[in-house]
Symmetry: C2
Subunit: 253 residues, 2 copies
């Protein structure tokens, strides 16, 4: 059994605790967190610690804290011969301030506390300083996911930028759709089948083949009617920019 | 059994032919189309006609052609006492140039030829000039969908604008994600679980609660690193505009 400790109490830390609890291959030895309240339903209280000095020896320590805290947190670890990894999409492996072997364990998913995820389907990008560490990290990742990939720090940053477009920005467009509905007394429920189908289409069609709508058709009558309808400046700007980009892409094909 | 004819041979026409073929409540009497090739696998050739004069009497005629052709097509129908409807999200019901009762039958979905859809889950927005027509149109819609809604022309246009944001623009962001991956030798496959989860989250969380990422956290270090990484001007502009909009939304909460 591989011994793992987790530092952090946020979304990723909580989802990792839940996922590792389901596998016999991993023992979570301790969770290190400043606040315990959010972890009490997930993990035995006596194993949740606050002081880095109280950390017991493990094979791997996963730092699941905010990007800006990673270097500082890693500097406080006093363990020896332990693989120390972070879970960030953007921070390079080298940012880990530690005399231990370093690595990255980046689950490519959007985590919200109140939404369960199927970890087995989540791609995990792993990276490590040496072959032995990589092998160990692979085993940890494979214990919870069927999609483990070796991805270096530069590729991981690329992936994170792409993820911002297809996840964070996409969700913001859902929010704008919701606002347009609410402002006009229409239920956002009406849009949900369309939202799900738009995502599912991508599993079998390329985004270019899946594109539909007035911009794709260069239907300027509808586009102008929509721009006239939109009252909010930012919504108008987003509509114009994305419409033009779709039209420009169509011309390149 | 309700007798229906369909005018058109595009995506919506094809998906409607397939959906009606599965229900015993509807008989598709004829399909009127300029070109037959794409319909031959879906419908008996002898029932596919080209001339409007050959149209047989039906209860409903569904005009599933491009927005700009709706008025012209409707003017060519010589039938009497037949409910004539179009399938557009944007065109008002009154645009139908016909002496017959008018209506709208708008399935709120993204249709691509090579992607099957589950029609029972698709919301259909119906509108008609009078109660009798509305009742008939409801029956037609309920024969293929469990989500039939009365929605007037003004609400329908609102819904269409919202749909452009949550479907057409979202798909374009998938395309940009794909391009970022391709330009850096990463497989777009890696992003697919994230894309699907981002859509599924919306079924249980509000878009505002589901938002994650550097813009939501106002993580300017990551945002600036991403802007530096992006080489394509339009990608940069889209990144800036959507990031600022997410930040502004966070401040309003």
């Amino acid at each position: 059994m591989i011994k793992v400790s987790i530092i952090g109490s946020g979304n990723i830390a909580q989802h990792l605790i839940k996922a590792f609890a389901k596998t016999a291959d991993i023992e979570i030895v301790q969770v290190i967190a400043r606040t315990h309240t959010e972890l009490l339903s997930l993990f035995a209280e006596y194993k949740i610690i606050t002081n880095y000095e109280d950390m017991r020896q493990t094979d791997v320590v996963i730092i699941a804290v905010s990007d800006t805290a990673i270097a500082k947190v890693s500097a406080q670890i006093t363990l020896k011969n332990t693989l120390i990894v972070h879970t960030s999409g953007t921070i390079p492996m080298e940012a880990l301030d530690t005399s231990n072997p370093k690595g990255v364990f980046y689950p490519l998913q959007t985590f919200s506390k109140s939404k369960e995820v199927t970890f087995s389907e989540i791609p995990i990008a792993v990276e490590a300083e040496n072959g032995e560490s990589l092998l160990l990290l692979e085993k940890v990742a494979q214990s919870i996911s069927n999609h483990v990939h070796h991805i270096d720090s530069s590729q991981r940053q690329t992936l994170h930028v792409a993820a911002v477009f297809v996840c964070n920005f996409v969700n913001h467009l859902y929010q704008i759709g919701n606002e347009i509905c609410e402002a006009n007394n229409l239920s956002f429920e009406l849009l949900k089948p369309l939202i799900v189908e738009t995502a599912h289409k991508i599993l079998t069609l390329s985004p270019s083949d899946a594109q539909t709508g007035p911009a794709k058709r260069e239907d300027t009558i509808t586009i102008n009617a929509h721009l006239k309808f939109l009252q909010h400046d930012t919504q108008k700007e987003i509509y114009k920019l994305l419409t033009q980009s779709i039209i420009d892409h169509g011309k390149k094909l």
